[in-house]
Symmetry: C2
Subunit: 463 residues, 2 copies
């Protein structure tokens, strides 16, 4: 069908004025008198709507006037300037065709609906202003991330979703199986007979693509992953979903400081991209969702991120222990309250915290010369706390094996990973960015359920 | 670390000649005499390698000369032109540091290895020429697809991976569960007690994001998905994997002919992008993997795709029934032999086959006025057969319900999908592109296991 989009109309308004256009879209509101009527039309391609004026000289004037909110129509008419009106132009309709009416029980009426209610109609909520803005921005962020890495010649790797290993022993994983759950086959010893399962062994949904990603960094130097990951954690918070997307870049011939440079450039790139490509949406968020949003993002753009070691950070935070629910001490895991205090109160800008105690970080992180801390880094940002976690990886075969032995990890489960330290090992580093957390950060939305099209959480897997 | 990449050296060779550079990479081969040695270095950023010359004036000359293939080194030296040599330039090394040696049992020696063997070392095979080419091109194709849709303002939607519905009743799905398989909880009636499972009900891995995608097309007009999908099919062929990625665009206010236009533009865009951005890799495939590859792709670029209805196609094919293993007749499903005959022998270019019998297509496809065929389309390309399948969707509530009744589908399982036909329904259409099939098509690789980084097939879930 040869339809122009509302976005094209706004972008080319000068050249289109006084010419005939045909648009298709959905009725956001409609009011009419005996002689004429007004329709506010949205076609989903642009945050702004288009005003349509139609007259009773039209054959189907009464059909149109009876339309409900949500109806799909195709309008042919002339684009005319309206210098005295709120909107810059309108369409004087010559013909309106109804593609599909909207039943009177359409759940999205003109009034404002709560986010809670809209979660119950996840198939319709992208038709509202807020969710149209959220999910267009989500799409733009995803693309900006690809563009950032591809411009730098990083190779995009699809690491596997179904996995036979459990990566960092991260625990709570979803099992994947084709066994008949009503009648699980058993071995003679009474164990589950996985030889009858699809893969011939137990398999799970991935919690991270990092270890696989490292194998590709050792071939391509710079790679990134961008795919779904899963946690079967029974935690019903506003920040956790069972299914979420992650970006995990990995660089060979790179250390922790390269890692931080990459993370800082990436965050700034993405913020800049979204401000430039979705100004209407970002203004909307700033007005209706989080009045500090644009200030905060612009401040990040204009800041050089701070750098502090974990040990220094603990010393700084200990002075304020009376303000915390959880008191800090050297060796403790930083809570969100501590992270936010560091970035919001002490540094007032994003901060990289480095060199954490080895006990609270994963086995694959590079041991520092002090033998107590590892070359880990978390990036903390105002308004949210940790947004990125990464590390330089242990590239020394013997040290890695020693650490695995300490932690009781079985070498035979990590043969492929140890091979990377045996054949042309090199310093390498990478990080993980939770995509949903990034979307929340850039939109000001405070519940992860409102930035995932069809969220999956405990006892919730609708549509 | 401040290293230049081999890609940067090749791209900026004029300005870099006779200046000092530092590169990091892996030894592809090494030969030495008493006075000097040559190293062929690959750093994974570029298909071509870099020659390094080093002399016995270097402190660690003997350490370097003992290196095995696969070792990681950092080289500082001067880039000098070599007008009489095979390669255009080389690096006269001033300093070489060993980052990581390579053990003598490094599996990738200079000889050619079979694809079968390389599948057993999927963590190391991206270090070979073929797989470095495959997986860089895979990355470029993925990005080209994003770029194509984003340039056209399509919204990228992450449809869910874990799902409580089974989409088109496509059958063989993987179950996702946190139940203890050794001790499945049962209800009083002896059924599996899914209230104790993570989502409180049975869940599976998605086989398609289309139905979810449609809900977003009805909000944004044009959307696309790009994510992993799963089939638990027990088929051990060169074209099937249990886990693969799919692209599924969906357009509102669009019909079958819009759908075909989009598919044709997308395929041509992606081919053009890869030829432009990976000429070295594409020449390599053409020389060593499939000597007809570039001819075929260029022919596709320069062809207007043909259009034929299923009914016409059957009439054409029936004349050649003596050449087929499976004889064609009106109502039969087209086999690969028929598809390839159509596109390779009869049309000698890509062809869209439209309007298939409703019995062999999914319930959601739009019924044609003949009441026997539906507005489906498959795109067939030389060398492979079907690469894209799509349709205009049934947008009439009553017709869709009637078809679901015919097929015994329960309305309550598709409430959200029926809502789209109740509230502002409009003609809409979309298609699915199997990403791996697309990569095979553009590289000439003939086994799906060789275009997926870590393939998942029956009894195979390594790494």
């Amino acid at each position: 069908m040869d339809l122009i989009t509302v976005r094209q109309i706004y972008k080319n308004k000068e050249s289109l004025l006084n010419s005939q256009v045909t648009v298709g879209g959905w009725v956001r509101s409609l009011r009419d008198s005996k002689a004429f009527g007004f329709i506010v039309l949205n076609d989903g391609t642009y945050f702004e709507t288009l005003q349509i004026v139609y007259h009773n000289t039209m054959d189907n004037f009464s059909e149109i006037s009876k339309l409900n909110v949500g109806a799909a129509i195709i309008v042919t008419g002339t684009l005319v300037a309206t210098p005295d009106a709120k909107q810059p132009f309108e369409i004087q309709a010559e013909k309106i065709t109804v593609e599909g009416a909207s039943a009177p029980d359409y759940p999205l009426q003109k009034k404002r609906h709560s986010f809670e209610y809209l979660r119950t109609i996840s198939h319709l909520r992208p038709r509202t202003n807020t969710f149209q803005a959220v999910f267009r921005v989500r799409s733009l962020i995803a693309y900006a991330i690809h563009q950032f890495f591809q411009e730098r010649d990083f190779v995009y790797v699809h690491t596997p979703i179904i996995t036979g290993s459990d990566c960092e022993g991260a625990g709570e994983m979803f099992q994947v199986t084709t066994l008949d759950l009503t009648n699980i086959p058993k071995t003679e010893e009474g164990a589950v007979d996985f030889t009858q399962d699809f893969f011939g062994k137990p398999t799970n949904l991935t919690v991270s693509g990092q270890l696989n990603g490292e194998t590709y960094a050792m071939a391509f130097r710079n790679i990134y992953t961008f795919g779904p990951t899963f946690r079967a954690e029974n935690s019903n918070t506003t920040r956790h979903a069972a299914e979420f997307w992650m970006i995990e870049p990995e660089m060979a011939f790179a250390d922790l400081s390269d890692n931080m440079e990459l993370a800082e450039s990436m965050l700034k790139y993405v913020i800049r991209y979204v401000l430039e490509h979705a100004p209407e949406e970002m203004n909307f968020f700033n007005q209706f969702v989080d009045k500090e949003l644009l200030n905060r993002l612009n401040h990040v753009l204009n800041s050089e991120f701070a750098h502090v070691t974990y040990t220094e950070a603990i010393a700084l935070l200990e002075k304020h222990n009376d303000e915390f629910d959880y008191k800090v001490f050297w060796g403790c895991d930083l809570q969100t309250e501590h992270e936010r205090y560091l970035t919001e109160q002490l540094y007032k800008k994003p901060v990289f915290v480095t060199d954490y105690p080895k006990e609270i970080k994963a086995f694959y992180m590079k041991m520092n010369p002090d033998n107590k801390t590892v070359a880990a880094v978390d990036c903390l940002v105002p308004g949210i706390g940790e947004i990125i976690g990464g590390s330089q990886r242990e590239d020394d075969y013997d040290k890695l094996v020693a650490r695995m032995d300490e932690l009781g990890l079985r070498k035979e489960d990590y043969d492929f990973y140890l091979d990377l330290r045996k054949f042309g090992s090199t310093r390498h580093a990478g990080f993980g960015l939770g995509f949903e957390r990034c979307v929340m950060y850039l939109t000001g939305m405070s519940n992860i359920r409102d930035v995932v099209p069809f969220p999956r959480t405990v006892n919730n897997c609708e549509l």
